[in-house]
Amino acid sequence: LSITGVLKSVNQFLNIRLDLINVLDESRHPHMMMVKNWFIRGSVVRRVQLLAEHVDTQLQEDATRRG
């Protein structure tokens, strides 16, 4: 199941609140069309696709090296 949406908030467990949900394969998940604002438990998230322009890779690498 793949979803796109606007990231409203994230917490320490990587639980996510998303607005304006759009399900990528609507025909397979028709029950998802009813609600547009979601809370998603972090543990079920397999991966998150991001736009490269939003990520400072240098900052990420430095932070990782530091600890």
């Binding site: 736009l51 990520v55 990782t64 090296r65």
Partner: protein, 100 residues
């Protein structure tokens, strides 16, 4: 054992050497990724850029023979991968392109 590699004391030190390098990641669910590693943490959460993902889809065939796997491939600019799905991370050498 090569004494000059004593700088590596724990498994994460080995991954640390691969920062900014292309890595190969094996995930649960018969998925594999390659991408440039930018960040990781103690949960093995990863941030990768310029990612290519391959998914093996196996059709079960009657008679006990191995099903033929087909590969699907996707490309992504920037990806966060949750650590609990990661099986292994290693350096990726372009010469080792799999030909099947």
């Amino acid at each position: 054992m090569d004494p000059s590699s004593s700088g590596i004391q724990e498994p994460f030190d080995l991954i640390r050497l691969s920062l900014s390098e292309r890595v190969f990641v094996k995930l649960r669910g018969d998925r594999e990724l390659t991408g440039v590693l930018h960040a990781y943490d103690g949960h093995m959460n990863l941030i990768l850029s310029d990612v290519e993902e391959t998914i093996m889809i196996v059709d079960p065939i009657e008679g006990g023979m191995d099903g033929h796997g087909t590969r699907q491939s996707k490309k992504m600019e920037m990806l966060f991968v949750r650590g609990d799905g990661v099986i292994l991370v290693c350096e990726f050498y372009r010469q080792l392109l799999t030909s099947n």
